[in-house]
Subunit: 325 residues, 2 copies
């Protein structure tokens, strides 16, 4: 099995690469080669599977075609401009998140007798307020950000290209990934992670919104598990509705902080400093808070059971079990 | 008020032009000029308002920019490849229905201090089976045709461009227009009209699906009323959800035929010949059957009350009150 990963240099891309290198197979089929693409060439991963790295902007004409020239059996399409940046730079967001995705799908369609499995990393940002108490899979696509609009359009394209037989696609709407390791990125959702990550590392973190804000989370570990499971998933079971919301944990910022306090103590929790930010607040206000993921659960997808579990996953996977005191 | 109509040579475009020429104003504001665009130059309309006609393919670079160069205050964007043709010609459908619409929106965005009112003719084809008994406005966009996909993407773009302040947009999902006058077009839904229109004219009509097929209809007269009402509508009332399903009549083919029989007699109804067509049947199977249009009704939009009324509107507007016996 020959795999292409776009957005391979990002946090999820690197973790997915490492997981695939460790597993050596997807759904029981041995991985023979991996092509890792991103706007900057991804770092060489550790492992024994043959790989190539590509500095490639898929929105540039011809680039997507070169990436699929080897007819990868499986494509993880993760490449995207994040929400905050897509809101600030309208043209860049549409160019990468819409035109880049469409260029990839078109490059696949242009090749006769080629129909790869494609796992698309979508987002809960495809939904926008007002919401029901828990958002079902068949709720309206009415995003309130340009990023959410672009992801929703990508979902529609993936569904149509799949229905027409050009791609064997599955779109999984990832919860907000928390706790993101490393440095903050430009996602408006970054603070949900930094208010846990920084205090656990003995650093101060800024909280730009009220503690009553409720949101929907899964760990990086859970996100990688979703992607790998989707890759081996028989899409015939989806009966045409190929985009689905992944399970997650719904909790408020106050509940996040309470979990942090339970696991790392008052001193860690005291490292969070309130600093309201109007842009972040406005963007987050339109975001989903809770989902009905009966469908994904019935199909075998599972996330953490509590925010405490999410913090523990971070401590195990990123901090070697140790936290600052 | 300066108006641009794309798709002005189509059935709806011609009727809308005639209505605007007759009214001389929209929402109380006098119309000073009309630009009528389509891939073939629309015919010159009768009336006293100054007009220009344009043979223009909005998907061709530069064309959309020329159409908005005069900064029309109000744009009716009706131009589209119909459902049957978009399903048969994948590239043409995407080129006109997606790229053409996006080119129009981009041409508007490129002009500073210009934010026209734009009425987008969307379609119930943005929804796909399985459905609830009556589809609410906040139901998933999960189309089962390329045409529906393209219209759904256009809706998402219109909402984002409106949210960002580039356009003052409203998208209205027209029911299947019935009875369409004139010759059949390539829409898969064409038979819903021809089984009424042809028998009323003393001609035979083909029925490609079972009589149990249920669908959602409004007359051309109602569709024009929706467009004109949307043009004068204060979009602030839509609270960001700018795409909405218009009212209509839900009925089965059997109920259509019963209405025809009531109004025009057994002889007319006997002119319908059953001739199953697998492609039409497959396309129509994924289409909506009934809607909950509480929202549109509360906002003041109204359609016919029964299919009998729809047939009567056809006889009045197209046949001068006379039917073949």
């Amino acid at each position: 099995m020959n795999i292409l990963i776009t957005g391979a240099a990002g946090m999820i891309g690197r973790k997915l690469t490492a997981r695939l290198m460790a597993d050596g197979a997807v759904g029981g089929k041995p991985i023979t080669a991996m092509a890792l693409a991103d706007v900057v060439a991804p770092e060489a991963p550790a492992g024994r599977i043959a790989f190539t790295t590509h500095a490639a902007d898929i929105a540039v004409p011809g680039v997507a075609d070169r990436l699929v020239a080897a007819h990868p059996d499986l494509i993880f399409h993760l490449a995207a401009i994040v929400s905050g940046e897509a809101e600030l730079d309208f043209e860049k967001g549409y160019r990468i998140n819409l035109d880049g995705t469409r260029a990839l799908f078109e490059a696949i369609r242009a090749r006769p007798d080629y129909r790869p499995k494609l796992v698309f990393a979508s987002s809960i940002a495809v939904f926008g307020a007002p919401f029901p108490e828990a958002i079902p899979d068949d709720f309206a696509l009415a995003p309130l950000t340009s990023y959410g609009t672009q992801k929703a359009i990508d979902e529609l394209l993936l569904a149509d290209y799949s229905r027409r037989g050009f791609i064997d696609g599955i779109g999984i709407r990832l919860p907000t990934i928390c706790v993101r390791p490393g440095k903050p990125n430009k996602a408006a959702s970054g603070f949900f992670s930094s208010i846990i990550r920084e205090p656990l590392a003995g650093l101060e973190a800024l909280l730009p919104v009220e503690e009553s804000v409720r949101h929907w989370f899964a760990s990086p570990r859970a996100a990688i598990a979703f992607l790998v499971q989707a890759a081996a998933f028989d899409t015939a079971k989806l009966a045409g509705r190929i985009n689905l919301t992944m399970p997650g944990v719904s909790c408020t910022v106050a509940e996040q902080i309470a979990a942090l306090r339970r696991i790392a103590g008052d001193k860690a929790a005291s490292r969070i400093r309130r600093e309201p930010d109007a842009l972040v607040r406005r963007v987050v206000e339109g975001w989903p808070r809770n989902f009905d993921t009966t469908r994904a659960a019935a199909l075998g997808f599972a996330a953490e059971a509590s925010f405490d579990d999410i913090i523990r996953a971070h401590i195990e996977d990123e901090l070697g079990g140790a936290i600052a005191t």
